[in-house]
Symmetry: C2
Subunit: 317 residues, 2 copies
């Protein structure tokens, strides 16, 4: 009985070093968490499956970091401060130890960067592809979490960073697009969650852009009962995305995997947004506005022409 | 943009009815949870993969209930009160709507039975088998959670319910054992988590029996730095397990999937255990004791003979 099964050795070697306060060194059935006094908890979970959400030969450290970061991005959209996470890892028999080592090394690096620790987890085998899940816990002052609903007619639409790099990076990974600098591939593999942007009192609604700017803007429209007018020529593109050329613009606006924040901002809060973004060192750009009307997204081109957006793309009136 | 993708329809139809306070109707990026004032949170997560943790043709309502119950069992081992849960569901394309309906119906039933609600989740596709994860949150009075460590020499070893039915039920499902009444198969498919047993001040250490009584007793031995003497003839067996006969005893003691509680109880707390168990309507049985020595499990037979237990079974000295 002093021999430990392989699963326990795996946990001890790779995951115990990630464990933080309350994790009981991952030796127990459950973790303990004393909530920060007077704060409200924010919880979210995402799954990632090899072949669906990442490529089977992606470097394992980047897989670990992406798993953590897509969840951090959801916390960022609430204006929440990250606290800790739990994780499940299902791997095919024969997954090399180096994969686990790389995966854990990526998590270790981002734990430091984002101030979170591992609270608990479960490792299992699977006859299928690597399947991961991560539940993250953050906190906000009670009642200050920003939602998808809450935008008003007249609120401006703002985004952080640049839009479309993730979708173009996937095209690079699939060999459909050149990327001399590696910038786009890096943006696809390693999102930059915009944690640290204090949204309370600034944004009337927010979400992170994971399904594509147009589709996610549609989510805010439906949740808030508003129409949106999006200005494609205002959407901030990286130099690499501009280099790809105008034929890729639709991919940029609908492709997903941006993990930038999409914000509804009342006009009288725009100065506060600019100040807070400057403090956090995050670029923000206005890309349109909300108005009364059926919950849908219209594209207003620089020419003045309007395009109605349908699922998966757009079409002329 | 008013057409919702299939994923959102799936969530709306099957999972929104499970959403509780703070889940924001599953319409947002994250859930909100106001922790019960003055309580410590207890968190745990388990993954279940078709073909590993359940059989692909298991009824989906039982799969959902088992997923929830194995996590409730971990909370029970801490003496925690269940609060809510988050979940990920990765399914192959073409998984019939009836599977999701059944899965959600099972969860709905157990949500009522155990007083928990769904806080959030993520649904994805997978090229592999159905892969599930569930993170559950409960609470305890600060400092009262029971751990795997903490047992002392002289503490008695107690278990709830009957041991071995889960492992025998798996043998039934695999066609290796007859089960005229269906009792064993039911025990395998639908664990009975022992939530509601107030362990604080009674058990010096505890865990739930998921890997098998002998192996899990070994976990408490290692965590507490003690040896254990287990009395096989004292281990409580169901009528169905007794009917299977003595050749199945080793399976009962090492086979796992019991989801009963394994407790270390100081002799002067045994009366309190009996009183609390009677109050909760849960049977408890003494099966041995801890003593000083190397962290291992010895079986003491009724004949007085001792057996050393090795990984996966046991052997004579």
């Amino acid at each position: 009985m002093t021999d430990l099964p392989a699963e326990f050795q795996l946990i001890a070697r790779h995951f115990r070093p990630l464990a933080g306060p309350g994790a009981l060194e991952l030796r127990d059935d459950a973790a303990l968490l004393t909530p920060p006094p007077g704060r409200q908890l924010v919880l979210t979970v995402d799954a990632m499956v090899a072949g669906v959400h990442f490529l089977p030969d992606d470097p394992p450290d980047l897989v670990g970091r992406k798993l953590l970061r897509v969840n951090l991005s959801d916390l960022a959209a609430k204006g929440a401060v990250p606290l800790g996470y739990l994780m499940t890892i299902s791997t095919p028999k024969g997954t090399p130890d180096a994969w686990f080592a790389g995966f854990a090394a990526g998590l270790a690096r981002d734990q430091v960067e984002y101030g979170v620790t591992l609270l608990g987890g479960d490792t299992t085998s699977t006859p299928g592809p690597i399947s991961l899940s991560l539940t993250i816990i953050g906190h906000v002052a009670p009642g200050t979490a920003v939602h998808r609903f809450g935008a008003s007619a007249g609120d401006e639409i703002w985004v952080t960073g640049t839009i479309g790099d993730g979708a173009l990076g996937l095209a690079v990974a699939q060999g459909r697009l050149a990327d001399a600098s590696g910038f786009l591939l890096d943006r696809y593999r390693l999102p930059q969650p915009r944690v640290g942007l204090a949204l309370a009192g600034i944004a009337s609604a927010a979400m992170d852009v994971s399904d594509g700017l147009v589709q996610d803007l549609g989510h805010i429209c439906r949740a808030s009962g508003l129409a949106a007018e999006l200005r494609p020529d205002w959407v901030p593109l990286s130099d690499a995305a501009r280099t790809a050329g105008p034929t890729w613009l639709e991919t940029c606006l609908t492709g997903g995997d941006d993990y930038e924040l999409l914000l509804a901002v009342p006009p009288n809060r725009v100065d506060a947004l600019r100040t807070e973004a400057a403090r956090a060192g995050i670029t923000v750009t206005r890309v349109g506005h909300f108005h009364s009307g059926p919950a849908e997204v219209m594209l207003r081109l620089a020419s003045g022409e309007s395009l109605a957006v349908s699922k998966g793309g757009w079409s002329h009136f």
